[in-house]
Subunit: 192 residues, 2 copies
Amino acid sequence: MAAEPLTREQVLAAAEEALRRYGPTKMNVVDVAQALGVSHGSVYRHFPTKAALRAAVVRKGLEKKAAQLLPIAEESGPAADRLHRWLLALIEFKQRLAREDPELFGAHAVVDKDDAALVREHVGVLTGQIARILEDGVDSGEFRGSALEGSALAIWHATTRFHHPAHRYEWTDPKIGEDFERVWTLILDGLT
Amino acid sequence: MAAEPLTREQVLAAAEEALRRYGPTKMNVVDVAQALGVSHGSVYRHFPTKAALRAAVVRKGLEKKAAQLLPIAEESGPAADRLHRWLLALIEFKQRLAREDPELFGAHAVVDKDDAALVREHVGVLTGQIARILEDGVDSGEFRGSALEGSALAIWHATTRFHHPAHRYEWTDPKIGEDFERVWTLILDGLT
DNA sequence: GGAATGACAGATGTCAATATTTGTCAGCCG
DNA sequence: CGGCTGACAAATATTGACATCTGTCATTCC
């Protein structure tokens, strides 16, 4: 054919679509290939396994999320307010995905379970952003200056209930926002 | 028969044993009845459904846990230290159960999912104990005195990762203790 | 008459046969 | 050649016939 060769990006996009439509269990690589007008063998030219393909889609989503959050981490202005908004944005992102693309979110949950390296990396990126805000806060005298890296991780874990997929069923509880604000208050008191 | 009639307590004990042995999915009421030398119809004299029986066993376990923790909440002495020990005891209890009686712990997880009322009640009892420690801390001037009830809940939620069944697979991570201590530091800083 | 039984219908679970899907690779095609 | 195909074996999922379990209740027992 004179047509361009299949690219990794195309496969990724088709896989994302399939994942969104059918979810992590029903999505299969023959369908993905079909959507691209290609045999499934070709998909394996770009990704070694189905799990790798799924993980790549999820990784893309995580990177997108980190990119959305980064501006807040890099803003100037009161660190406390930024951290608050950053956490809210994080939670909003996850909870929106869970609500609007439950199948795709299911894929996130699956990868979360069996690709520890990817989640470690992602947690590293996000706690890095938290740490950045904390540093600013310490520099400006807003926060006390103890254990920056450790605090970032502590904040991450203390808010687990609000962003970890395992708790998605609790997110429909109308009190969830209130609960978060309580934890936020606790965290803020710990920082200032 | 001249023998004593079957008691609720006996059924509960047999059910606990069955649950421990076979887990929440394989345990069945015919076996429970058989262990008691009784027909399964008799079990239904004491519990309306299998789910209710399972929930009753779990409730008993939760009450036992709350009872074990209560002394720490009621001690006198430095509140910060007591709260720390209380949380460690809570976590230790859950993690030990998960390790040593995984089937029974599985029953806890199941009930957690579909008996919201029971977990609400249990969370209420435990946050009550936290609140008690907090009050002591405020009275002694150890803690600042803002929003006692709310703080108790906030502490509960901030430590979710360390006591919620959904996270049991993370408990084998050797860093889990370190992670908890980081969150504890954050909480403590927020209180003092 | 209060407690227990056991036969029963409907729900739920099991398991083995069957079908789909994954991942490989020798060969085709432009 | 580089990129793609499609036939294939092995792994995984689905189905449906069958077995077990749940929950009820008319009846029996002491």
